[in-house]
Amino acid sequence: MAAQNLKHALFCAIITLIIAYPILGLNLEAEGTQVVLEGADTVTVVSIALAAIVVFLFQLFRDTIMASLGRIPRLNPLANREPMEQGRRQRFETIALVLLVMAALAWPFFVSRGSVDLATLVLIYVMLALGLNVVVGLAGLLDLGYVAFYAVGAYTFALLSQYFGISFWLALPLGACLAALFGLVLGFPVLRLRGDYLAIVTLGFGEIIRILLNNMTWLTGGPNGIGGIPDPTLFGMEFGRRIKEEGNSSFHEVFGIAYSSEHKIIFLYLIALVLAVFTAVVIRRFTKMPVGRSWEALREDEIAARSLGLSRTSVKLSAFTIGAFFAGFAGTVFASKQGFISPESFVFLESAIILAIVVLGGMGSQIGVILAAIAVVILPELAREFSEFRMLIFGAAMVLMMVWRPQGLLPMRRIHIELKKQE
């Protein structure tokens, strides 16, 4: 047994060296037209050696370590508590959400412009993640091309404003509905595919849309994107220093305050906040409705659901379309916030980030998703020196989540209907 362990541990350590040393320890450097090889610095080499030793020791004492790891959760006082009773959980969540929203409302007036801008981005991701959570978390459909609907929303606004001068407020429902329509049309043929095929096909769709945006230069400007997307207005009041469109008034003049570029940023933030709250409330409501139960039923046992007359296509399609709708929402806000969009913003990596938010945060509640969105967007900004490790950490975190806490993702706990005792 011990010899077996030793052999295995040695093997694992050697594998660690093989997969780490050539890639990490030997760097390809371009020197003119020539490519040369340079050894990495001592720190890297030592770390690789250390990693191998750690793997060796871990594998050698694997059984002991795993056994003691198994004991740790019992030290955690929260581990053994009863799951919160549903009514209480619901109330708790509602209170937490309301507090969160109140804090979010007051917050922009106390912080810097950059933070507000970042917070708007967080809210956009919150919308995206809540929408994707309907598709992935509730309906159990892995959509890897979610960013395509985001793009549809953003481009709808950009194109409509460019060609027809349509304002943000009109573009918002239009963009969302068009994204939903895209979801409907794309979803209709593909939703009968099995889960993993569906994932790949949606990924393909996302890429196709991006490539089309990139190449239909006559319409979308290709890789150069579309600029000059107008800011939202408040009842016909513009937030710029000068009025761009005739008939509008300007915010600072109406209220007789000094012009500040911060007004616009805060206003956009507030719009994003309202829309994010709207998204959360609507989706919460859906989960309590028949449609929400059907999503769960189909996810749990598709065959049984079909045998009861639930149409697989229409149930899945409803989730897909609703998810796409909110992506379109987020896209419109994004276009307005940036003022400029290009296909660069809608690559697969973006889908992966949104998925990572859902996976990391889907701890059975919308709060989880919201917190994850905050973490995923803000943490790399806080630790800028680590920001290049962001995607590395995401990837690792996704794997770890699946291995240790997949519940985070799949059973987002829907609020159960309870039968009240009739006396």
Partner: protein, 251 residues
Amino acid sequence: MLEVRNLSMRFGGLLAVDQVSLDVQEHEIVSIIGPNGAGKTTVFNCMSGFYRPTGGEILFNDQPIHGKPDYKISRLGLVRTFQHVRLFNKMTVVENLLVAQHRHLNTNLIAGLLGSPNYRKREQKALDRATYWLDRVGLLELANREAGNLAYGQQRRLEIARCMVTEPRLLMLDEPAAGLNPAETRDLNQLIISLKEDYNVSVVLIEHDMSLVMEISDRINVINQGRPLASGTPEEVRQNDDVIKAYLGET
């Protein structure tokens, strides 16, 4: 009301069902029996639309239904249970019954969001029907439990209740007594008869428990190795030589 004519189902080289015919009248309990692997469940899978039969036809109220998608067949009033109970385990008992009533969910998305009176009335009605059937199968006390936590016999009853809330015309039960103890089997027996008598539902039954089959069936079809062997009243089947040789003699 249901007529199956020369049904055949082939999987690659294997002819699992070969020229099986059966018919079910209103207000009737018809059983399909046969040794394991005889193709009984395959017949069910064809009837409920999970498989597209490779030959023959299935008529429901003179309408051909073979090849229709499963959910449409179910909406016509042909609803089934499964050999291995298939509940929505993470949902509560009452939710299992609510889901079964959600066939036309897309029409009320907006109404549901706004909570229109019509929508609320419909939800209440669904809840009432669920309550009624839970009471009927004796699971009312457990209404808010997760379905997966029920005892096996309770799960079986819940599955039947889940079919009944859809108000079917024809109920297809795939080995409903499997895994039940004698007392539970007796209750089941009563329940099936009552479905026919009180709710005017016809029943097609696949069952191995001979005493149950003989007691409640109006007619019995025997299948062996995918082919029809005999059919008739319980009495006729019991005395059929082929059946005795091929089926009863074997066990």
